[in-house]
Amino acid sequence: MWRYLGERDLSNAWSAGKVKERIVQFKKWVMGLSVRTITRPKAFQKPGHLCLHLLQMAFLQMCNLPVRVVCRANAEYMSPSGKVPFIHVGNQVVSELGPIVQFVKAKGHSLSDGLDEVQKAEMKAYMELVNNMLLTAELYLQWCDDVTVEEITHPRYGSPYPWPLNRILAYQKQWEIRRKMKAIGWAGKSLEQVLEDVDQCCQALSQRLGTQPYFFNKQPTELDALVFGHLFTILTTQLTTDELSEKVKNYGNLTAFCRRIEQQYFEGHDKDNSGTAAPRSAKRSLLR
């Protein structure tokens, strides 16, 4: 699988070229599937993109599938549905977690085979909760909070493009997200209310997780990948305020969960990968 990532250094982002390959070798690839995941370079990513990328990575790694990551500034437009990241397997292009899970299932890999019907329904419910709450909260914070928008989001989003295109595209995206927020009724919410919602969501997740290593049984499922992706991003992305990550840090078992998954699925592979030319500065870790 190919995935598109990028460099962290914003100031060099423009001149350093936008395509960076980072071959993440995995243990052994099971099926002869050569899959590419494509996302926007990390430096140009808003946290929303990064989290989706991570959760996808987590999912694919949990399935033991080899992934190759490629960065493109135009990943958003390459995707058939407009969402990053997406995977490119042979002749097919699949975007968004749901379809990717289905696709991988059709090829014979699934993480939720061991669950019964009740558990599957519960898993779907929690996934919906995370999507509705955490994802929307992340979008709100990036695009509707004026300070963050001005200082972080606009420069990041527009950095692959020359002036005046960087401003035009950033504003275009902002209007689009704000329209969406208005449609789902979040436009009227204040930052405190959004943080409250995040807190409630984390509480629900924390309660479900309890002291178990994963949400269901001892094996990871799609829900684990989803939660990991979102929480890890919230914990490691630098924004203007730390309030969001503080909310998550309040729940010890969630941070421990993230650390555990990072260690198991990402650390080990980066060690294998120490010979690559890609800068290590692009890697973030909870373990610092």
Binding site: G17, R72, A73, N74, E76, Y77, M78, P80, H88, N91, V93, Y161, P162, W163, P164, L165, I168, L169
Partner: protein, 466 residues
């Protein structure tokens, strides 16, 4: 001497013939004493203008200054006619009539003449509806025009065009130099969307361009700066990955120069003359993220052989060199094939492709040899039949990419191998002075794997044919 009045003659295209031959005297009053008018010396004393409204004086003065230099009557008539043509060319008058009369008044000389131009200015706002034919596409064009905006032949046009392949709208401002209409300057703002099914590509361009035209001796030059925000997308979900990779936004800011020398007697189906067009474009040094140097040329030579046979040879070529390490974009590359290019192949369906989507190439050449004859047995001679021609052709061309790491010698070699060519015959119909329709029977040869052919009957409509 009676009053001579020149009937307004129709606007002539290049087909019309030299001016002097066509100017006709409409009526001559019989003189009791026969005087040979050509030899009579005259002096133009006054030139009057009737009907000027918002048009400024200085721009008119330039156009009619020659009339004062006329020495005899025929000269006066000829120069007045030329001045009339020049005034009409400005695009600010609907009608211009010329009246030549003897001078009356206190300061009148015995051989003095007065020339009066009776003009009707165009309204401040005009609308138009046209249909347009491009290369294998047609469109409906609605226009709004503000002619002669500030009195010196400036023009603001707004145009909306809806066609089979593209939709576009644009606003443009045009200003000629007073006294030198061929030197002009224009600024355009436009948004064009196009669909290219041969590449499964959809393109939306929003841009601004400024252009300066000027003639130097027999050539016409155009200097242009253009800034375009280009958005590429896939036309269908089944688009190939190479086209998907090109999707997204980019900004192109380029300077270009074009030179045209045209000595043909007509743009469509010329009988004699040659055309040479050379165009170069440098993108990237004035902003934007596309960086390349693009050159292309077009050459055509026509010669009339015995009877009504016309032999025509044409050669096109071009090269796109990306500067820096970014590869060229699919929207800048050259395409080959189709009823207006190498006949016998489907539209733009020659060369590098991926899963059926044609990606274009960085370098190409194409050549054609044609023989045009009138229709056999010449039906409708002198009328409708003159618009048709039969034509026998031989076309050849090649298209390739330059990014495989070879030098110029390797490029030439690559362009010389695997040449696609075709031959055939057909009928050509001329549409006014702008477009032509062709119906040909083609035999494509040298077909490489991946090319799509259209052997047998092929129909084409357009303005620029190989």
């Amino acid at each position: 001497m009676g009053t001579q009045s020149l009937e307004p003659l129709p606007m002539s295209g290049p087909d019309f013939g030299a001016l002097g031959e066509e100017a006709e005297l409409v009526e001559v009053e019989p003189e009791t004493k026969q005087e040979i008018l050509e030899n009579k010396d005259v002096v133009v004393q006054h030139v009057h203008f009737d009907g000027l409204g918002r048009t400024k004086d200085d721009i008119i003065m330039y156009e009619i200054s020659d009339v004062f230099k006329a020495k005899n009557l025929i000269d006066v008539m000829r120069k007045s006619h030329e001045a009339r043509e020049k005034l009409l060319r400005l695009g600010i008058f609907r009608q211009v009539e010329v009246l030549i009369d003897t001078c009356q008044g206190d300061d009148a000389l015995p051989n003095g003449l007065d020339v009066t131009f009776e003009v009707t200015e165009l309204r401040r706002l005009t609308g138009s509806y046209n249909t347009m034919v491009g290369n294998n596409e047609g469109s409906m064009v609605l226009g709004l025009k503000f002619p002669n905006l500030f009195g010196r032949a400036e023009k603001v046009t707004f145009q909306f065009s809806y066609g089979t392949k593209e939709t576009s709208y644009g606003l443009s401002f045009f200003k000629p130099q007073p006294g030198n209409f061929e030197r002009n300057f224009s600024v355009n703002l436009y948004k064009v969307t196009g669909q290219f099914p041969w590449s499964s590509l959809r393109e939306t361009d929003r841009g601004i361009s400024t252009e300066l035209n000027f003639p130097i001796w027999k050539t016409n030059h155009t200097l242009k700066w253009e800034g375009v925000w280009r958005e590429l997308g896939c036309l269908a979900r089944t688009a190939s990955f190479s086209v998907r990779e090109e999707s997204g936004h980019s900004l192109k800011s380029s300077l270009s120069h074009a030179m045209v020398i045209d000595s043909r007697n007509s743009t469509i189906l010329p009988k004699r003359g040659a055309l040479l067009k050379i165009n170069q474009e440098l993108a990237g040094y004035t902003g934007g993220d596309m960086r390349f140097l693009k050159e292309d040329f077009e050459f055509q030579l026509n010669k009339q052989l015995l009877w009504d046979l016309v032999f025509s040879a044409s050669l096109w070529g071009g090269m796109l060199v990306p500067i820096g390490d970014k590869p060229s974009s699919i929207a800048d590359r050259f395409y080959l094939g189709g009823p207006t290019s190498v006949r016998g192949f489907s539209m733009y369906s020659i060369g590098p492709q991926n899963e059926g989507d044609y990606l274009g190439g960085d370098a190409y050449w194409a050549g054609g040899l044609h023989l045009y004859t009138p229709l056999p047995f010449r039906p409708g001679r002198g009328g409708f039949g003159d618009l048709f021609r039969t034509h026998f052709f031989l076309n050849a061309g090649n298209l390739c990419n330059l990014n495989y790491g070879g030098g110029p010698r390797a490029h030439l070699q690559k362009l010389a191998e695997y040449i696609r060519w075709s031959y055939g015959a057909g009928i050509v119909l001329r549409l006014g002075n702008i477009a032509r329709l062709e119906l040909n029977y083609c035999f494509p040869m040298g077909v490489q794997s991946g090319d799509r052919i259209c052997d047998g009957v092929q129909f084409g409509a357009g303005i620029r044919f190989l």
